[in-house]
């Protein structure tokens, strides 16, 4: 069975757990939800998902993460999957990196932690064209 996939990336499990609850509640069963604790894992997931015949349509990612920061991660994603909607969710980010990302990877939105649940869902919904 094939469903579009929404992927969340954050090095904090706390954040991922909360996001999962919020997304499932708001968007229900129409999507698969995947969660990664880092950019590397996220890239693996993108590959796995496409092997299963599904498609990642939206990525919600933190900025300040070990190994690879959010903007770099998005750049990598953008090379192979420019169609994926990219949203940044961050507690603190280098403004320069954000504005670069906006230009280079067509960043859809940048939300600040702590985030407002309604706003997050509204942005995601508008991102995936609901």
């Amino acid at each position: 069975m094939s469903k579009p996939v929404i992927l969340c990336v954050d090095d904090e499990l706390l954040v991922l757990n909360s996001l999962e609850i919020e997304l499932r509640k708001a968007l229900g069963n129409e999507y698969f939800y995947e969660f990664a604790e880092g950019a590397e894992e996220a890239l693996e997931i993108i590959d796995e998902v496409s092997e299963d015949g599904n498609k990642v349509i939206l990525i919600l990612s933190d900025w300040l993460m070990p190994e690879m920061k959010g903007d770099e991660f998005f750049k990598v994603v953008h090379q192979n999957h420019p169609e994926i909607v990219k949203i940044m969710l961050t507690g603190q980010a280098n403004e320069e990196a954000i504005s670069d990302a906006r230009k280079q990877v067509n960043l859809y939105a940048c939300l600040r932690k702590p985030w407002d649940g309604n706003e997050l869902i509204t942005v995601i919904k508008s991102g995936i064209g609901q």
Binding site: L14, V15, N17, S18, I21, R112, K113, P114
Partner: protein, 1140 residues
């Protein structure tokens, strides 16, 4: 307000504010703003969440009243069913006992009713009653007789009779009466006590009419208030909230707490007071607030009506503190953190302001000292790199200044030496001359054409009359006219002829007649030198000679005698044609005067025949012969090594012979020569001196000037200067001239008088004059005499020096301004970084908390209402599964990583798919989120039960609730840890006292702060040995660890392994912080502990880190070492363990 006004205001205020304040205040303000905002938002979020929760609970209670409504609807249904059954004949009014089974079935369906009953108009009665303990009994009364009460078994069969009751008439009971009163409509009784079994009930009763419309009896269903009580107990309201039902007459119907409860009593009291004791006024739901003992209470009243007499008020009261306690605690924590952060910021500000301002103050002091002329200024500054450069520039400039001043001083000394040596030479010459003159016995005067004494070279010590007062007077003023005339003639003759003349004269000097023999020689057209010798002693022989002369004419003997008395060389020269013939030597006696007279005479005679002299001499003789006049002639003779000067007077005695009288004038000639030489010497000094030398009148007329002065003033010669210049015109600043006159009038001499003058070409130069007054014999000012030095070069050097000094001061002030700016921006950069780091560490857990609170709120809103229904509708089997699912959740304590979760998910999905479960993806993730990793137990639920989706979803919702709460707890802990670490790290203990502390705790605090950096690719290896606490300054040591950890992370470019080893080493603690970064290049290894040394780009670090580290370690009497090779850099700190 206009911008200029703002600027003026700031300018007015700022000078009064110290640099320290300017640094500290913005820093404190920023901390205030940052911490305040964080605190405000967290408090705001918490309060909002709790308010939502409270209002939902209130709403829930309101909803419960609707539940109560539906609960109270059950008796209606039963009555209706029973009526229908009677109408349809399913139960027979004649056969009351047949109703038992009917009632039993109803009891099975409608759980919760207390009694189902029917009474006929005749007083027959049948009822199925459920006791408070749930035991069903069957009660029946025939037309006449007792009320018989039987037990019942599980199948509804009648058991043995339990008791019987006589004197029972159902028509007397409240419900029967209520039904009659309602006339065919269902009616509720008021609460009353039912006797069998005893309980407090309300009953819904309705009259029954058969198909003919005849009143046949009453059907009724009683509800136990105890069941309502159970229902109320099902509500948990806060920690100590209460729910109770009030009747309109203020009677408490029932509560889920004891009647004595003070909260309820107070609430009832409050309500009575609020509605003037008449609760029947309450029409709508009322939300009220009131206080008990100062505690605010939230109170909600919901009116509840039903058919019949049911007209209740459901009251919920909750102490606000139940919800607000945590918020208040949070607020208190926020305020304490706020105050602590403020204190830290101020302490930091004071500390850092100290090391910035200190060096500036030292520079300032040194600059002031420099201005006061203390050239030996060297400033050692420890502070920002700019300060250090400033100090260096300052030192260099001070050194240059010192060198310039030294050079100038040296030049001055050299000049003075030169003047001194020249003055000494002049003095020596003068002394020589003076001694010459003093050694001479002659009087020497210089006369002008008028016979005025122009110069008196010396005074003859043998003369009693002084000669010095003769200067400026004429001969006629000083001697008898006849003598004066004769002498003046002689002088003028000498001048006219340019020939030396002799004269003898006598003067009365004192009381003595003095005879002088004088030679008058012209020295210029209008000047002649007069050399007079006192010949008084020779006067007697001279008189003799004169007498002899008289006699000579008469006698050759006499003549001879006369000659013998003479000292001159006298020759009688014969001339033969053009040749000198015989030369006869008169027998004079020159030996009295000349020692070598014989030689002289023979030499003289020989000279008549010498080739060199003969033509001249014979010429002179012929001249005398031809003119018949006396011819004067001067010549010199060399005898041995001596040169003698003679003046000869040639007089013709016949046409062929002359008399030649030669007198030795060597002495006079020598004096003249000496005078000439002296004059030449003076002249040479005068002409060649580097200084200008002049004589001038008070009015500024130059009497004399030397070429140096002319050159100095821009004239081609001294003559030109004297002709054109009046010294009063020189002054650039005329008032200086008056100062000069005043000074010289007062002291008679002026030294080193410096002023500016105009040269002939208009150029302005600086000169220095040394002038003294020359007075005439009456003590009146005669003229000024002085020297002039051109000091323009020196003045220019001084001016340049002053200019340079001013430039230096200006540069210093500019540097200070620049430096202040730099310091401020550096502080801002550091503060910005700190706040950004803290913001991330706090925002992440805050985000999780906010999201979780929302999730909990959503859960409550969505599911709390439907829960009772959900449980009611759940089959027992499903109920068990549900409970098992909940249990599974509570047992899952491990936190799964996303990878683990995905792996589990895949496995579960496969299993589910194999079992044919629909939507295995969804079910698998739901199960995992619910805490179910093994589906064996739940397979039947998933495959067989139709309600499985509902059960699973509800279990999942409960799991999210649990997860959200766990998230809040963990996140709060995280935020707390960050704040604590920041607090601990930044705390500044300025008590100056060492405290006992375990340094590993400090290191861990620092590591917590750097957690955000460390987790981005740095592996941390901690190796702590068993170490004792030591007496130390823990906060300052934290600064050490912070610097070393920070440097290590940077050296590794945020990737690598950071090892921290802490061990005991003899009586020392040894802390090693090792990174595997690029290492420290050997060429800078020696510099890293120097202040302001940094390899970081501008703005990222002050370069003071390791300098501060060194100082703190020194303060602990410890040492720090560094070893570095590429790939391994270890900073080792040794701290002494001082036993307290």
């Amino acid at each position: 307000m206009s911008i200029p006004f703002l600027n003026r205001t700031i300018a007015k205020v700022l000078p009064k504010v110290s640099l320290r304040t300017v640094i500290i205040v913005p820093m404190v303000l920023q901390i205030l703003v940052a911490v305040g905002l964080v605190g405000y938002f967290s408090w705001k979020n918490g309060e909002k969440a709790v308010n939502d929760l409270a209002s939902q609970l209130m709403q829930e209670v309101g909803t419960r009243s609707q539940q109560l409504d539906s609960y109270l609807a059950t008796p209606h249904k039963i009555n209706q069913l029973n009526q229908n059954a009677l109408d349809l004949g399913e139960i027979n009014i004649q056969d009351l006992k047949s109703m038992k089974n009917h009632f039993w079935r109803q009891y099975q369906i409608f759980n919760g009713v207390s009694q189902i009953q029917f009474a006929t108009t005749e007083g027959e009665f049948v009822a199925l009653t459920v006791g408070e303990d749930g035991t069903p009994t069957y009660q029946v009364r025939e037309l006449t007789g007792e009320l018989q009460i039987y037990g019942m078994d599980k199948e509804g069969k009648r058991g043995k009779m339990l008791t019987s009751l006589g004197n029972f008439d159902p028509r007397e009971l409240p419900w029967y009466k209520a039904a009659l009163k309602a006339k065919g409509k269902p009616a509720w009784t008021q609460t009353y006590i039912k006797v069998t079994p005893p309980s407090l009930v309300i009953t819904l009763a309705k009259t029954y009419y058969d198909e003919t419309g005849t009143f046949r009896g009453v059907v009724a269903v009683a509800l136990s208030l105890a069941r309502i009580s159970e229902f109320l107990q099902g509500l948990e309201i806060g920690k100590s909230g209460k729910t109770f039902i009030l009747e309109r007459d203020s009677n408490l119907l029932h509560t889920n707490s004891t009647h004595e409860d003070s909260l309820i009593q107070a609430s009832v009291g409050y309500l009575k007071e609020q509605f003037d004791g008449d609760l029947s006024q309450i029409e709508n739901t009322q939300e009220l607030k009131f206080k008990i003992h100062g505690q605010e209470q939230l109170l909600q009243v919901v009116p509840f009506k039903n058919v019949g007499d049911i007209d209740w008020l459901i009251v919920v009261v909750v102490p606000k503190a139940d919800f607000m306690k945590e918020i208040s605690a949070n607020t208190r924590t926020t305020i304490s953190v706020y105050i602590i952060a403020l204190a830290i910021a101020i302490a930091f500000g004071i500390g850092s302001a100290g090391w910035v301002i200190g060096p500036i103050m030292r520079l300032n002091t040194s600059a002031k000292n420099l201005a006061l002329g203390e050239w030996e200024q060297r400033v050692e500054v420890e502070g920002a790199v700019e300060l250090r450069e400033l100090a260096q520039s300052f030192n260099t400039m001070a050194k240059e200044l010192q060198a310039t001043v030294a050079t100038l001083e040296k030049t001055n000394v050299e000049l003075e030496d030169k003047v001194l040596s020249r003055t000494a030479a002049l003095t020596a010459t003068e002394a020589e001359m003076r001694s010459f003159f003093e050694a001479m016995t002659e009087l020497i005067f210089v006369f002008d054409r008028e016979g005025r004494y122009c110069k008196i070279a010396s005074t003859n010590p043998k003369l009693t009359k002084p000669t010095s007062d003769l200067l400026g007077k004429t001969l006629h003023e000083t001697m008898p006219i006849a003598t004066a005339d004769r002498l003046l003639d002689c002088i003028q003759a000498a001048m006219d002829n340019q020939h030396t003349t002799d004269v003898e004269y006598s003067l009365i000097w004192g009381e003595r007649l003095v005879w002088f023999s004088a030679n008058v020689s012209p020295i210029a057209e209008n000047y002649a030198i007069w050399v007079a010798r006192d010949i008084s002693e020779h006067k007697v022989p001279l008189r003799e000679r004169k007498a002899l002369e008289k006699n000579l004419r008469s006698s050759k003997e006499k003549m001879r005698a006369v000659f013998g008395a003479m000292t001159d060389i006298i020759l009688i020269v014969e001339v033969e044609g053009n040749q000198i013939g015989d030369v006869e030597v008169a027998p004079t006696d020159p030996s009295r005067v000349y020692e070598a007279y014989t030689d002289l005479i023979s030499e003289t005679v020989e000279s008549f025949y010498r080739e060199e002299t003969a033509p001249t001499w014979s010429g002179k003789i012929r001249e005398s012969l031809e003119t018949g006049k006396v011819v004067h002639f001067e010549y010199d003779l060399c005898v041995g090594y001596d040169r003698f000067w003679f003046t000869a007077s040639i007089s013709p005695i016949s046409d062929r012979s002359t008399i030649w009288v030669a007198r030795d004038i060597s002495e006079r000639q020598q004096v003249e020569e000496a005078l000439r030489r002296a004059e030449e010497n003076y002249r040479s000094i005068f002409e060649n001196a580097a200084e200008g030398i002049f004589q001038s009148t008070r009015d500024g007329l130059y009497l004399s000037a030397n070429p140096a002065l002319a050159q100095m003033y821009g004239y081609s010669s001294a003559q030109e200067l004297m002709f054109n210049l009046n010294s009063t015109q020189l002054y650039v600043n005329p008032s200086r001239h008056y100062e000069f006159l005043a000074a010289i009038d007062e002291h008679g001499t002026v030294s080193n008088f410096e002023f500016q003058v105009y040269r002939a070409d208009g150029e302005i130069i600086w000169i220095s004059e040394n002038v003294h007054v020359v007075f005439d014999e009456e003590g009146e000012l005669f003229y000024y005499e002085g020297t002039v030095e051109n000091i323009t070069a020196r003045k220019e050097a001084e001016e340049a020096l002053r200019q340079k000094n001013e430039d230096l001061a200006r540069t210093l002030s500019q540097l200070k301004t620049t430096q202040e700016g730099l310091i401020k921006s550096e502080k801002m950069a550091a503060l910005g970084q700190l706040i950004a780091g803290v913001a991330h560490e706090v925002n992440t857990p805050l985000g999780a908390i906010r999201s979780s609170v929302q999730n909990i709120a959503d859960f409550l809103q969505e599911y709390l209402e439907v829960l009772p229904q959900f449980f009611q509708e759940l089959s027992p089997q499903c109920n068990e599964y549900f409970l098992a699912l909940l249990q599974q959740q509570s047992q899952q304590t491990t936190v799964l990583s996303t990878r683990e979760k995905r792996k589990l998910n895949r496995a579960l999905k496969k299993q589910l798919w194999e079992q044919g479960v629909e939507e295995p993806d969804l079910i698998a993730s739901t199960l995992i989120n619910t805490g179910v990793y093994d589906i064996k137990t739940f397979l039947p639920l998933l495959t067989e039960e139709s309600e499985s989706e509902k059960v699973l979803n509800m279990a999942y919702q409960f799991a999210t609730l649990r997860t959200s709460m766990a998230t809040i707890a963990t996140a709060a802990e995280r935020a707390d840890k960050v704040v604590f670490a920041l607090k601990t790290h930044a705390r500044y203990d300025n008590s100056g006292q060492k405290t006992e502390a375990k340094i590993t705790e400090g290191i861990d605090t620092v590591l917590t702060i750097y957690n955000n950096k460390l987790k981005q690719g740095i592996e941390l290896v901690k190796n702590y040995g068993d170490i004792p606490s030591i007496l130390c300054y823990p906060d300052e040591l934290n600064q050490v660890w912070t610097n070393l950890v920070h440097n290590g992370i940077q050296a590794m470019n945020n990737k690598g392994t950071l090892s921290i080893d802490v061990n005991k080493y003899n009586n020392l603690l040894k802390v090693m912080i090792t990174d595997n970064g690029t290492g420290i290049p050997p060429e800078i290894k020696n510099k890293i502990f120097e202040p302001f040394f940094t390899t970081k780009p501008p703005g990222e670090g002050s370069g003071l880190g390791l300098d501060i580290v060194q100082k703190i370690i020194d303060k602990h009497q410890g040492t720090i070492e560094v070893e570095s090779v590429p790939g391994k850099t270890t900073f080792t700190v040794f701290l002494p363990i001082h036993k307290p």
